[in-house]
Symmetry: C2
Subunit: 478 residues, 2 copies
Amino acid sequence: MAPQLDSYFKQVDDLSDHFIERLRKAVAIPSVSAEDDRRPEVIRMGKFLASELKALGADVELRELGKQPHKEHLDLPPVVVARYGSDKSKRTILVYGHYDVQPALKDDGWATEPFDLTVDDKGRMYGRGSTDDKGPVLGWLNAIEAHQKAGIDFPVNLLMCFEGMEEYGSEGLDDFINEEAKKYFKDADAVCISDNYWLGTEKPCLTYGLRGCNYYSLEISGPGQDLHSGVFGGTAHEPMTDLMRVMSTLVAPDGKILIDGINELVAPMTDDEKSLYGDIAFTMDNLYESLGSTSGIYDNKEQTLMARWRYPSLSLHGVEGAFSAPGAKTVIPAKVIGKFSIRIVPDMEIEDVNKLVFAHVDKAFAALGSKNTCKCTLQHAGKWWVASPKHWNFTAAGKAVEHVWGVKPDLTREGGSIPVTLTFEQATGKNVLLLPMGSSTDAAHSINEKLDKRNYIEGIKLLGTYLHYVAEEPMKEE
Amino acid sequence: MAPQLDSYFKQVDDLSDHFIERLRKAVAIPSVSAEDDRRPEVIRMGKFLASELKALGADVELRELGKQPHKEHLDLPPVVVARYGSDKSKRTILVYGHYDVQPALKDDGWATEPFDLTVDDKGRMYGRGSTDDKGPVLGWLNAIEAHQKAGIDFPVNLLMCFEGMEEYGSEGLDDFINEEAKKYFKDADAVCISDNYWLGTEKPCLTYGLRGCNYYSLEISGPGQDLHSGVFGGTAHEPMTDLMRVMSTLVAPDGKILIDGINELVAPMTDDEKSLYGDIAFTMDNLYESLGSTSGIYDNKEQTLMARWRYPSLSLHGVEGAFSAPGAKTVIPAKVIGKFSIRIVPDMEIEDVNKLVFAHVDKAFAALGSKNTCKCTLQHAGKWWVASPKHWNFTAAGKAVEHVWGVKPDLTREGGSIPVTLTFEQATGKNVLLLPMGSSTDAAHSINEKLDKRNYIEGIKLLGTYLHYVAEEPMKEE
């Protein structure tokens, strides 16, 4: 296999400017799924992808998902599904990615125009969607093209599923995957998703676990309308006072969740698991660099990684309905909605967590003796996911990493959730591998999102190499 | 005096449709001082006022205040100053009002177009600025016009000062008043401001006291940029967790301020003062109606009025920098700024309050053991004001109320601050009277702001009648 890969690698290097151009074209389409008036741009991005895939000889379909729930004036962007190759003697690998991006405005603090890919002298390619997830999505296309130009047989049949609503809850996608699992996706032998990040900046990883997320709204209301604090301050129960009180009972400054019973739901740490953390290529400096500060809770990597991967966390995200602009406004908000979420881990069941949260909030609010009204609701929930890293899908990916990067990858979990991972696993019954391209400093979802040129180009090599190894890996633990 | 007033009253009644039209024209100009792109509308409103005053024969000047501090591309709207009459044998009364308004969008929940004065079948005139403060400002103009049409000699020389930045901190006005106190305003014998509200809906009042207001920003920061709660939740000190903790230590759900030493600064209640509250025309139903709920802290009017007028209060207004939109966002905000203010009363000095607040916040934050950074700053401060209600300015106003409304007015204080009151008192050295036109249900600063037709028309009569009585009232306690 090595000679084949050598000529593949050479092609990727030779085509690198062309691949960066392709990413530049993709970044230039502001496919922000959360902004209604940019929906045509999301659709345009889907069509761009489809057109690139067709030019590479893939069979492509744009699959419509209908109207957007609660926004019936908007068409959901299509899912771009494609098949490249249909050789019965080859394995079939299903890959997923998304072509929509987070919102971005220059005024948010970007150093460059967010939709104009800007490469600096260190090879950092800044642009919204560069790493999340246009770079990785194009990685699959680029791997096909480099095989073609190198004259190498493509090692697998590739099924592709690229959606346009990932940054807005993947509306409609679960139903689509469940529907197509035994149709369009029926030949899939394994699944690979490239939509996450290395743990640090130097060592690649394979990811086999994700935390889930239960997201809550905590609404406290009283007055019929917003009040003037001069006129009413001191005479009425203020919803903000109650909300701050209740929210401050949920979590301690050191991250400990204060909801009775929550921590008891967490699977106990085994000695076996504990021993894994020491070897992971991660340092406190990696944390500090990605935090942009040294305000970490723990002073060692083991506890930090455990806190991120295998323990739950609770974050207070904000308050809707209160004064949120710069400056001063002497308002007593009539109705405020606190937002918080809990990252859940094995063995926390969504429903069990809900019950404990609601009971805690009820108790904390009752203790205030307020005449306001309190209502806590679940906004959305996503289960955690843990796969077997000993599956041949992972073994193949591990060999590919070693081939391209010269190191064994870390086997990692992630603190975030990628709900589609679990959907693919449950719908297809196949092993799902998360194979990241970008690094921990890429700032997905933040200002100045970037993908390093090295990660992009070597990442293209890695995706292709993975397909070679996965084509040949003996089946075990399937 | 009575026959003269009768013909004045008849003219006001006869001209009532005309006066409502004048208010409609004023409301139609969206003079929102807080919105940069509406600055031309604020200026247009100033010119409209000047033009109406000129047509009534007043000497009018538009006095420029220069550029807006921190927004040098914006001209401050002019102060409209005017003099009507200069008869040395008459008293001179200086009146103040403002022609700018709070922001208003139909989408905020208005039942009608906010800048289209809409009169319902109960005579409620809905529109932004109807009661705050365009109705009262036009009240002075209407009083002049009704005198002219009734052929009655105007009883005083009227000096007018109408500003266009009241809803945005009266930028530039203090300097202007101090500058003109011994110039344009030098003849003033007393000051009257109509920019507040009755305590309830049935009985007029004269207002002789206001609370001050210290407004604070409480900034907590840590990470270099906003973080993803999946990736970082549980590993870093979160500014929102700390902020909610600190803010929840400031005030109890029952309104009690929890900052050490604050309550000790408050002037003790005397038996004399205590006896005043029982007679005030105010009921708990008045409170509940204006609250739009029954979530009052106290169950009796005395404690409620004391809490509003003569005790301090602390309100938590909101959080800047956190997630504030509808929906769900799994962000860990990197820097959050809590906003809160304290309404201050005699004998609380601004600086003493600051010291106690900063000490409290420092202590509360230190107790968290967080690695984040906390900074508390004063955004703005305004002193409380208490005048002598036995001054002839008040006596005259009391007689006018009795003449027009047939009842003795309540002598009230207010929970809010009207900083210009204190400025006029200190700059001119004259007694300042607050003579409200609107009622407690007018919803100034809220959606569906209105002025009742009855309050407007009888209010015009009251302003004119006040000028007759104040012209003749024997001087005492000056």
